[in-house]
């Protein structure tokens, strides 16, 4: 079974192995120098008593909430609109997908420049024309997180648009025709034919987006480093700091396991709650 060798080796070493190791390490104390010590739930106790974890959890939830508020409806509406364009939708989808192609580091460095808090900064100049601002953007604890949400929404929306578009093209045209013959107006055709078809994709994307946004990392690291005043410190950034700044791998994996558990519970609850209305 020569053919199974690559997949077995690669998954053993780089996927299954690390997942198991992560679970084991969360109950150990390791700093790579001293011998490994079994410490039971000590790491979890340490992590849960660290006030930074509470703050980071709140920040992460705040980001998730804001990202859903902006990032969820925009791609849905855009995809619904683009699916009406028939032959020309490819040009629109191409434009919508360009930000997704942009490497995050390039996007973040560029947006950091756009967010220049001086009155001659890019966004402040634009808003200045309509008499708003200047705003502090990333430099104020209250607006730093919304600024990150804005960039992250820009960067991620295109992907969701394409997925929704693919789902919409699978709707049978005769359903719309039948609805029209029955006298259903445009609004009712959207509500009773289009949206029900999107329902399972919408629910899934909602869950995936929550799971994705809970793992926010690159943006706060490069935009703000977690500041100002810890207002953009997320759970992942904290895990990174535990492991690669403090060298406390036990605490880092314990917090990772806690986050993964939270995500698993969330998914399970979500699946249960929506089981009734996700089937057509």
């Amino acid at each position: 079974m020569l053919f199974a060798l690559p997949v077995l080796l690669v998954f053993l070493v780089f996927s299954w192995g690390p997942i198991v190791k992560g679970l084991v390490m969360s109950v150990q104390q390791t700093n790579l120098i001293d011998p490994v010590k079994w410490v039971g739930l000590e790491n979890f106790r340490y992590v849960l008593s660290d006030p930074a974890v509470g703050q980071a959890s709140l920040n992460t939830l705040w980001f998730t909430l804001l990202a859903l508020l902006f990032g969820f409806p925009v791609p849905v509406l855009l995809a619904m609109f683009l699916s009406e364009l028939r032959g020309r939708s490819w040009f629109y989808s191409m434009l919508a997908y360009l930000p997704v192609i942009t490497p995050p580091v390039v996007a973040i460095l560029l947006w950091r420049f756009f967010y220049d808090p001086s009155p001659s900064g890019m966004f402040n100049t634009i808003l200045g024309h309509v008499g708003l601002g200047p705003y502090l953007w990333l430099d104020s604890p209250s607006s730093a997180m919304p600024s990150i949400v804005l960039e992250a929404t820009w960067a991620g929306a295109g992907n969701a648009v394409i997925i929704y578009l693919a789902a919409l093209t699978s709707v049978r045209p005769d359903l719309y025709e039948a609805a029209e013959l029955d006298g259903a107006g445009v609004v009712r055709r959207v509500w009773h034919v289009m949206l029900p078809h999107l329902r399972s994709v919408l629910l899934l994307m909602l869950l995936l987006q929550v799971i994705g946004t809970m793992q926010l990392f690159t943006e706060p690291l490069l935009f703000t480093g977690g500041g100002p005043q810890g207002s953009t410190m997320t759970i992942l950034l904290l895990i990174y700091n535990y492991a690669f700044v403090n060298g406390d791998y036990g605490a880092a994996t314990a917090l990772s396991v806690l986050l993964a558990l939270a995500l698993a519970v969330l998914s399970a609850v979500f699946q249960l709650a929506t089981r009734g209305w996700s089937t057509e």
Binding site: F14, L23, L110, I162, I163, A260
Partner: protein, 290 residues
């Protein structure tokens, strides 16, 4: 395939708002999608003061500084770092291809008895958030079990881990599943062994899906930041994504922006050339997740 029927589209009540909507959406997408790219192009060939004082100006004031791009390429070593990025992306694509085609072949065509177990074990990783394995994966690369090799500061550290992608295995397996079984029987009757069936039947037939895997893995390794930051600490090996934030700290703004433009150019060109395959790949990912 659309809500608005031909009859609807002739009604003024619907046509006018629809056209206005199209214009608004088009302008919005042009500003959001193309705007940053074009602005970056302008800023890359402008003096620093232009970008700082009047970021909204359409053209560089005075002379066009084409030299910024050359300076970023040479003194900022953007060219060198892009070379590293290309090496990393190419190796990742090759490693991913080898793993997902052989795995797909085992699971879809050879179908050994333990195939279901393997398939389940691969699928299960889709449901485990990446964060669980970040730190242990780093320690694994630091000291690979059994052979005790340290892969950090070698390209193996960035080539191999992304190859363990359940998503790739899954889409390739699904594609292999769609090849008519009669082909395999015919090939076997003609005396082709399983290796021969793989190389001269399955692989040539699945070029479209392999193209999707290559494109998606190139783009995702091009975008990656955290992982190469962790495992490639030697600046000579770092990709452009890791180098840019460091360059940004020590270089003048116009050179910095020229560097950003150069780093953005290649993925955008790749996308424009292969956009159909891209958008199909993304659509596929939606289908798999759903």
């Amino acid at each position: 395939m659309s809500v608005l029927s031909d009859a609807d589209r002739k009604l003024t009540r619907i046509r006018v708002p629809f056209i206005i909507g199209q214009v608004v959406v088009l302008i919005g997408l042009l500003v959001a999608g193309l705007g940053p790219l074009l602005w970056l192009l302008k800023a890359a060939i402008s003096p620093t003061q232009d970008s700082i004082r009047s970021p909204l100006a359409w053209f560089p004031s005075g002379e066009v500084q084409w030299g910024n791009l050359a300076t970023a390429w040479q003194q900022g070593h953007i060219g060198y770092y892009l070379g590293n990025t290309a090496m990393i992306a190419a190796g990742t694509a090759v490693a991913s291809l080898i793993v997902c085609t052989t795995a797909g072949y085992v699971l879809s065509v050879l179908r050994p008895k333990w195939g279901a177990v393997l398939s389940g074990a691969i699928l299960a990783t889709l449901f485990v958030p990446h964060i669980v394995s970040l730190v242990p994966l780093y320690l694994t690369v630091l000291k690979v079990p059994v052979v005790h090799a340290n892969l950090t500061n070698t390209f193996w550290a960035v080539w191999l881990p992304p190859a363990a992608s359940a998503f790739n295995v899954l889409i390739v397996k699904r594609f292999f599943d769609s090849i008519p079984r009669e082909y395999f029987e015919a090939a076997r009757i003609d005396g082709a062994g399983s290796i021969r069936v793989f190389t001269s039947l399955v692989l040539p037939l699945s070029r479209p899906i392999l193209g999707v895997v290559v494109l998606l893995s190139i783009i995702s390794s091009w975008k990656d930041y955290l992982w190469p930051l962790l495992v490639l600490t030697n600046p000579d090996l770092q990709p452009v994504s890791v180098a840019l934030p460091k360059i940004a700290k020590v270089t003048e703004l116009n050179i910095q922006l020229a560097g950003l433009f150069l780093a953005l150019l290649i993925p955008v060109l790749l996308f424009l050339v292969f956009q159909r395959a891209f958008l199909r790949g993304v659509g596929l990912s939606g289908g798999i997740k759903a």
